[in-house]
Symmetry: C2
DNA sequence: GCTATATTTAACTAGTAAGTTAATTAACCA
DNA sequence: TGGTTAATTAACTTACTAGTTAAATATAGC
């Protein structure tokens, strides 16, 4: 599984790792903060490994601060997932009138992008 | 990996399977249609297995029609992914004014849901 | 320097995933 | 009935994943 998007999806395919992301969505946390809810179920090295998976997938960044390793969400990879998902939105936005509303938001988004930031794709 | 969302993410963590979904987003297709682009790279049983993964993850449905097995996208699982993603949208919608626009669409969506369909969560 | 705290690395095991080839099932057609 | 097409199942191999325990590294504070 060499491609980045596959790596990201694989990282998300685990409830422990998703719980860690959920925790990080509330704010920065170091490894032992993130480990705390799971230490009944698994060892600390297991937590370290999960964090390495998240980091390699580009979902978090880990920095150094004394003996702690503060982690935070890194949005890029999630954005890639969101962009991929976008192609399928019409399939889950089931009602027809919602589809119309959806198309409007897409157009609004495109315009906003064109004006302010040059984004890839 | 017992939970459904993990199963869905795992199914999406493979470029072959995502390509199959992309094909199905253009319309129904049977197994050999879906296999065609990959038969240089893998055997037909491998394709069958990929489709089984997608089916078990709730991403496609397979029906019977004579000796063919027409497949089509099943949006439910993708919707679950989208719902999960929603909690993180603010992290990848990086610019502050976009965040404002995002909040408006969330409110609009909430209202639309309340009026028309009773959805979970 | 010594010790406690935070985290990672090493070495290993068990289970799962993705692929293979060969054989099998199922439906159609002549 | 026999052949052809479509798809799956069986049995197996290889590689990866998630976890383990034990040992190592790094930093802070006395």
């Amino acid at each position: 599984m060499r491609d980045r998007l596959s790596q990201t999806f694989a990282a998300l395919a685990d409830p422990t790792r998703r719980a860690m992301l959920a925790r990080l969505s509330k704010g920065e946390a170091n490894v032992s903060d993130l480990a705390r809810p799971f230490l009944k179920d698994m060892s600390l090295p297991a937590v370290t490994k999960h964090l390495q998976v998240l980091e390699k997938a580009g979902l978090i960044t880990k920095t150094r601060e004394a003996q702690w390793r503060p982690c935070k969400l890194k949005p890029g990879a999630l954005k890639d997932v969101a962009d991929w998902m976008e192609a399928y939105r019409m399939f889950w936005e089931e009602s027809f009138d919602r589809l119309g509303a959806y198309l409007e938001t897409v157009i609004a988004k495109k315009n906003a992008q064109g004006k302010k930031h040059g984004r890839k794709k």
